[in-house]
Structure formats: C-alpha cells, structure tokens
C-alpha cells in the first residue's frame, strides 16, 4: 500500500486539502486570512529551526536573528534601491546563509549541544542590539515601514488571500526539498553525525564542515521566511530579531514535534490559532499560554504530531516492528519505497 511507503502522506494530503480550502469557509475575512499567512511563515521558520534541532540534533537560540536579518535585507533592498521583492526573496536567503556560514564556522568548530545554544543566543542578542542601535541603516527601534508587496505580471500580491496561496506554494516547495534532502548523501551525512559523531568521522564524514553547511542552510531558509514576512506585513523592526520570535519558533517546533517534517507545520497552526483564541483574555493571554505550554511539555514531551502519528498508525495498521523509536530514526522512503 502506497500510504505505508510514504509515512507523511496520511497527514500531508488531508492537511493540504484543509489548507487549500481554509479561506473558503473558516477564514473568510481578511483578518483571519492574515492569520493563515502567519501560520505559513511560522511553519517555514519552524521547519528551518527543526532542521537544526531534528536533523542536526543541535540548537540555535539565535535563529530569530536570521529571520529578522532576512526580513531587513529584503526590505532594505526594496526601499533603498528599489529592487524588486522577487530579487529580495533570493537575496535574503543568500545573505542569511552567508552570515550563517560565518557564524556556524565560529560556533561549530568546538561547541555542540547546550554550549552551542548559549553561543547562538549571544550572537542573536548582538544582532538585535545592532538592529536597535544602527539607526541610519535599520531605522532604529521604529524599524522600516512601507515595505512594498511583490507583484506578478503587473498585479500586486497584496491581498491576504493571494499572499496566502503564494506562501503556501512556497511552503510546499520547502517541505518537498526538506524531504528529499534527508535522503541525499548530504542529508545522511548530517543525520549520521547527529546519531554518532565519532563513528561518522571514522567512516569519512567531515563532521564540522557538514554541520556548518547544514546550519547555513537552515539560516538561509529562515531568512527566506523572514523576507516573506516583511513583504506581507510591510514593516520590519528590531523585535523580529529578538527573543520573542525565538520563543515562538521554539514553541512551534516543540509543540508540533521535532524531527518530523509535518510537526512544525502543525505546531505553527496550533500556536497561531490558540494564541488567537486566547486574545479575548487580554493580559492573561500569555500567562495562560505559558501554562498551556507547560502542560503540553508535561504530557506530550515529543510534541503533538508524533502523538497523532501513533494514533494514525494504529488506525491504518501500518505500525513498524521497531515501534515509535524506530520510526523516529527512519526516513520517509528509506524503508523500502525505492528499493522495492
């Protein structure tokens, strides 16, 4: 059965159907459709953070800085040089990727694990300070406004609906690339370092170099997500680089479940919708959110998606002999879809 060979499909196909039709029923006004755009952008940022967490088994606390950096690069190009946002969508990931390469090289030579988390936190805060202080370039605390939307054949992608489908398409592209990348030689190298760095280097995987490139790739991806944010919400400010968004991405990843392609997508949807529903509680909103978060961590430490997957496996009867843990280590497709 095909579903069995493509473990992501049972979730992906219905999720895509819901995502494609959501603007038709639940999300019918522009405010709600703006939430959909936010879900897509957070999902992309979450996928990128999860590349570091799930695939590399590492942690970056400076990830929001790359997100904000990508947003600034694209916004700045459009505002100061009149460059088309399309070029910005390319330039943002390239710039974020290059900075990621440099910082990855500095940070990953010796540090791993929790040390890396704190080191990247330091970089993130430094970037935030610069964004806040370098007024002539970054606009200081107020940031930059009037960032133009992208246009296609003379038609501006300005409405929430159009931008949502545009971003959704890109998100699907990202999911596709991430899925294929996992099976590639590079993806396997990264995974093997995650599993066992000594063994990986003894069989010829250049551990530090692979990790630096993987880190840079994740930075490029999150920079791209940041550019998408800038051209939709049409402003950038130093907060985009700060801890608040860092926590949001972290929540998106851990809520959905790390190490799975669909986890961060689900996590982004849950995060945006739940915090929206809690809006009625006004100042109690984030307090309640903290409690909800603690509860989720307590009762679903692996995230919501793996819990759902367990249920789905039971229903479709496609459980593996190795159980849940084996599935965590396995790749979509590596279980025989190509060998068979």
């Amino acid at each position: 059965m095909r579903l069995r060979n493509r473990p992501g499909l049972w979730f992906g196909a219905p999720a895509l159907a819901v995502a494609a039709t959501a603007p038709l029923f639940l999300f019918t006004n522009s405010y709600n459709r703006g939430l959909l755009v936010l879900i897509v952008i957070y999902a992309m940022a979450g996928l990128s953070l999860d590349y570091i967490m799930g695939e590399m088994g590492q942690f970056s606390f400076g990830h929001a800085a790359f997100w904000g950096f990508g947003a600034y690069v694209s916004a700045k190009l459009a505002l100061d040089l009149g460059v088309s946002p399309w070029i910005g969508f390319l330039a943002a990931p390239v710039a974020a990727g290059l900075v990621g390469l440099l910082i990855g090289y500095i940070a990953l030579r010796r540090t791993r694990g929790l040390e890396l988390a704190i080191v990247t936190l330091g970089f993130g805060v430094l970037a935030w300070t610069v964004a806040l202080r370098w007024r002539p370039v970054t606009g200081g605390p107020a940031g930059l406004r009037q960032v133009p939307p992208p246009s296609l054949l003379g038609w501006e992608i300005r409405s929430e609906l159009a931008y949502y489908y545009f971003a959704l398409l890109l998100l699907l592209g990202v999911v596709f690339i991430l899925t294929r990348l996992r099976e590639s030689r590079f993806g396997r190298a990264v995974r093997s370092i995650h599993e066992n760095e000594d063994l990986a280097s003894s069989i010829g995987v250049p551990a530090t170099r692979s990790y630096v490139f993987a880190f840079s790739f994740a930075c490029a991806l999150v920079g791209f997500s940041g550019a998408l944010y800038a051209h939709h919400f049409r402003f950038v400010n130093p907060n985009l680089l700060g801890l608040q968004y860092m926590f949001i991405f972290l929540i998106v990843v851990l809520l959905g479940g790390t190490g799975t392609v669909w986890g961060p997508v689900l996590g982004a949807a849950i995060f945006v919708l739940v915090s929206e529903w809690l809006r009625a509680l006004q100042e109690y909103r984030f307090l309640i959110f903290g409690v909800v978060l603690l509860m989720v961590v307590l009762f679903m430490p692996n995230g919501v998606f793996p819990a759902l997957r367990r249920v789905a496996r039971r229903v479709t009867g496609s459980g593996r002999s190795g159980g849940e843990e084996a599935a965590r280590g396995a790749y979509p497709g590596s279980g025989g879809s190509e060998a068979g």
Binding site: R110, L114, L121, G122, Y284
Partner: protein, 287 residues
Amino acid sequence: MNWDILGQQIWNGLLNGSIYVIFAAGLSLVFGVMRVINMAHGELTMLGAMLLFTVTSVMGLSYFAGAALVVVMMALAGFLVNRVTVRPFLGHSELVVILSTVALSFILLNGSLVVWGSTPKGVDKPFNEVLQVGGVYMTTAQILLVGVCFTAVLALYLVLTRTKLGKMTRATGQNLLGARLIGINTTAVYDATLIIASGLAALAGVLIVLISAASPNLGQPLLITGFAVVIVAGMGNVGGAVAVGLFLGLTEALFGQYVSTFYRQGYLYVVMIIVLLLRPQGLFGRR
C-alpha cells in the same frame, strides 16, 4: 584624562559587575551541576525585586526584613522550580528542559505584568547618604550592595568547597551516574542546586533595587547578560563566572564612558565572540 570620571566609572562598573557576579554564579551553577539551561533564571531575579517591592511598600516591612524574607521564600521556591519544570523532563532531551523553563519564564513574566503592571516601581532604600571618596560619589546603599555581593560570593565559595554538599554537587556535575553509584542522592543535590541558584537570583533582585527601579521587564536583559558572562567564563565554571562577571561589569562601564555609550549593550557580546574565536571553551574552561 579626568581621574574623577575614571574613578566614578570604575565604581559604577563595580556595582553592575557585582550584580552580574551573583546572577551568573547561579546560572553557571545550575548548568555545571545539572547540565540545564535555566531560561527562567532572569525572571527569578525579577520576581525577587517585585516581591521586595510588595513586602516593603504594601506590607510595610523594612528593607532588611523584606529582603531576607524574599530571598528565603525564593530559595524555597527553587525546590518547586526543580520539581515542576526540571525534574519531570530529565529523562527527555535537553531541549525539553529548555522549553519547560521557557514556559516557566513566560508564566512568571506575564503573571508579574498582570499583578504589578509594566511601570517600574521604586523601593525605599534603608539608607542612602551620599559619600564622596576622592572625586567619586557613592551612596551607602551602593556600598551595602557591593558588601553583600562579596559576602555572598565568599559564602558560596565556602559551601561549594568546604561542605559535603559542595563535594556532592561537584561529583554530580562531573558524573551523574558515578555520583549515584557511590550513593549520592542526586535528586536532593538537584533540589539543593536550584534552591541555592534561586536564592542567588532573588538576592540579585533585592540588590538591584538599590541601584535601579523594580520592573517586571528587568529579567530578560539580565538573563542575556548572564549568558554572555557564562560563555566567556566557560560554561558551568562558577569561579570563572565570578571573575568574568566582575571584569565585564567594570570594562563595560569604561567602554560606555570612553568608547561608545551607544553600543555599550553590544560590548559584552563582542567580547563573547572574540573569546569564542580564540578560546571556544571559555577563559576558564577546560577541554
């Protein structure tokens, strides 16, 4: 060169540095013993400052009685921090513990905003005479701050090096399994570590109000400064954190005076990056 300004900046740096020392020592202790990044450490300090405001201004306690009460209360709360946000997750990945402490900091910060609002609150200082030593102005409250910090560091040093508890925390930090095998109750060690660290965090909070106002927003910037200190010193090295905290406090003030007020906030992170480039394990770290 105006020597009075230099002296004044050294004094100001010493004040900030004392706070960094107390704060970073607790952060580093938790990391060194438990391999846990406590993202709520800054909010514990904030809570110390806010509670002090409440017990002095609302309940009418004196500064000293209030400070003692708050530090003891917060130290005991450290037990709860361990049992609610750390211990249940130790079997899982290190990241889950980060998330649970992030959740705790969310709760503490937003809970405090609900209770106290975001306006900074002044706390009455026990005494606040201005003294002039040479050309340097200092207040008696500031001298109290520095004195308490040094006493606290000395006490921490004695606890960690001279007591059985200190030996047990070091053994646990070096090798959890080994510590268990030789009969150390590591759960109790973890409880004690978070009790000490929370007490230190709250102490930083009750001291901060001697030099600035109490506000629910003071936790996050302090947490970030604390991390810079801990990285430069070497993760988990408490003694190093003390030396580096003091050094960075001093040089940060001098940087602000003589190089750039504007980028003063960035100074710590630039130092951090230079240290990372030249000595990734930190100044006092061993690899």
